[in-house]
């Protein structure tokens, strides 16, 4: 080896100073980069309100929003409305998740189940849940029942679709392994089918959470007498843009928190493949 290096003609050795090539990467990350955009937006809003460019009837000043939040908490309206909203969304989410998962397992493990269930659910998938609202109001009235059912309908579809997909994409070699070990059906389900479908299920959950909040916003703005949506609806009638913004911020926080929770669950439950994915 050494000999060949020595024998190499001098002209071909690489120059010690190399011109930097054109960089195609976006470069090093900026510290706290994610906060810059929102902060800029907030400053424009604050500056506009302070200078009087923004009419408070169009958009309340940021500090008004903060004091209004304080007032709403002080008289308990915020907590009450938040609790009732969270209850609706949570109930719909739980029921929808259970239904979606059970249907996915039935359709994924039996040809008859698939023949009976998959078609109707694919049709349901094509119809936005919110388009069913007039029918749901006629059937179930405008009470809690209708609200939870609407949220449930929005939740179970993505849970079903992605869990079913996860089940179908389980490697058939693992099924063969189960056969060769003569696993009882219950063990096969618990050790192979459900863990195999878990990545799909959790992906479905992320969509489901988004859908739950979306459905909540809509049902709470229709003939509701409680909840964040109702609070915002009432504020619209009185022209209180500050209360509306408090509601929007709440929805945003709830969305972020719940998505974060599902992602955390994803990381925990799928730690076995972290070495590859993360």
């Amino acid at each position: 080896m050494t000999a060949s290096v020595l024998a190499r003609p001098q002209g071909t050795t690489t120059p010690s100073v190399r011109k930097p090539g054109r960089r195609l990467k976006p470069g090093r990350p900026i510290p706290l980069g994610a906060a810059i955009g929102p902060f800029l937006l907030l400053s424009v809003w604050a500056a506009g309100s302070a200078a009087g460019w923004i009419d408070p009837r169009t958009l309340s000043a940021p500090w008004t929003v903060v004091t209004t939040t304080g007032d709403l908490i002080a008289d308990g309206r915020l907590q009450d409305n938040l609790a009732i909203s969270a209850q609706r969304a949570g109930l719909g989410l739980v029921i929808g998740t259970v239904i979606g998962t059970v249907l996915a397992v039935v359709a994924g493990l039996s040809r008859w189940g698939e023949a009976l269930l998959d078609g109707p659910i694919q049709i349901k998938r094509a119809i936005p849940s919110l388009a069913l609202l007039p029918l749901l109001v006629l059937w179930f009235g405008i009470g809690e029942q209708m609200k939870v059912i609407t949220i449930t309908l929005g939740v179970f579809v993505p849970v079903y679709i992605h869990t079913h997909n996860g089940l179908r994409s389980i490697d058939s070699r693992y099924v063969e392994l189960g056969e060769s070990l003569r696993l009882p059906r219950a063990v096969f389900l618990r050790r192979i089918v459900l863990p195999g479908a878990l990545p799909g299920f959790l992906l479905g959950m992320r969509f489901a959470v988004v859908n739950a909040w979306l459905a909540l916003v809509v049902v709470e703005q229709i003939n509701s007498t409680s909840g964040i949506g109702y609070m915002m609806q009432l504020a619209r009638e009185y022209g209180q843009t500050d209360v509306i913004i408090v509601g929007l911020v709440l929805y945003g926080l709830l969305g972020l928190l719940s998505d974060g929770a599902v992602r955390l669950a994803q990381r925990r439950a799928l730690s076995w493949r972290r070495t590859l994915a993360d």
Binding site: S180, L181, G196, L270, T275
Partner: protein
Amino acid sequence: MATNLGGLTATGTVRVHRLVRGFGSRAVLDGFDLEIGAGEFVALLGRSGSGKSTLLRALAGLDSDVDGSGVIEVPEKSSVVFQDARLLPWQRVLDNVVLGLRGSNAHERGRAALAEVGLAGRENAWPNELSGGEQQRVALARALVSEPELLLADEPFGALDALTRLRMHDLLRELYARHRPTVLLVTHDVDEAVTLADRVLLLDSGRIAVDLTIDLPAQRSHRQPQFLAYRETLLRALGVNHSEG
């Protein structure tokens, strides 16, 4: 639907009678007969498409979607080792080993099996964290932990590098000496067959072309003249024009 009249043998013998297996109109095995004695180590050689995997899958009962008929008698307690380790990536190594076990001492037995294949201390690793050879050792542990009377292995070392394969040969001989199951090892590697087995069957177009008893000491090497003679015979039967020097 492949129907298996006959059933289970108690002593570890394998009996196949008039076995027919095919895909569509093409019969891979047509009236195939085979007997393997209890505790015999048989290697099944053959080119691809010779029917060796079809036979192994029939013995393992993994061909319910294949057309066929015939009588298969195999021990009730049999295990399969596949070419890929086929570990569940979402189960830790020990849980993979004890997947088919029931009973309260399953974990103990799993630990012992892992120690036997030289993987003591890796019980809590994820399969992805192991090398290919280590994964295949886990698969061996999983196959042997149930103390099978018949071990069916479908090119179990085919995906390993040459060095790892040699070490796995030693391990398999060692495990075989200790547990004495009947072994049917499918391989396309003549050296592997002669190194490991006591009897080599060469399958050609669905029938046994050569049935060779390997009469060599447990310690085998390529330098033994008899080893080379067996190798020559088998290579010639496989149609390899093998000229030395």
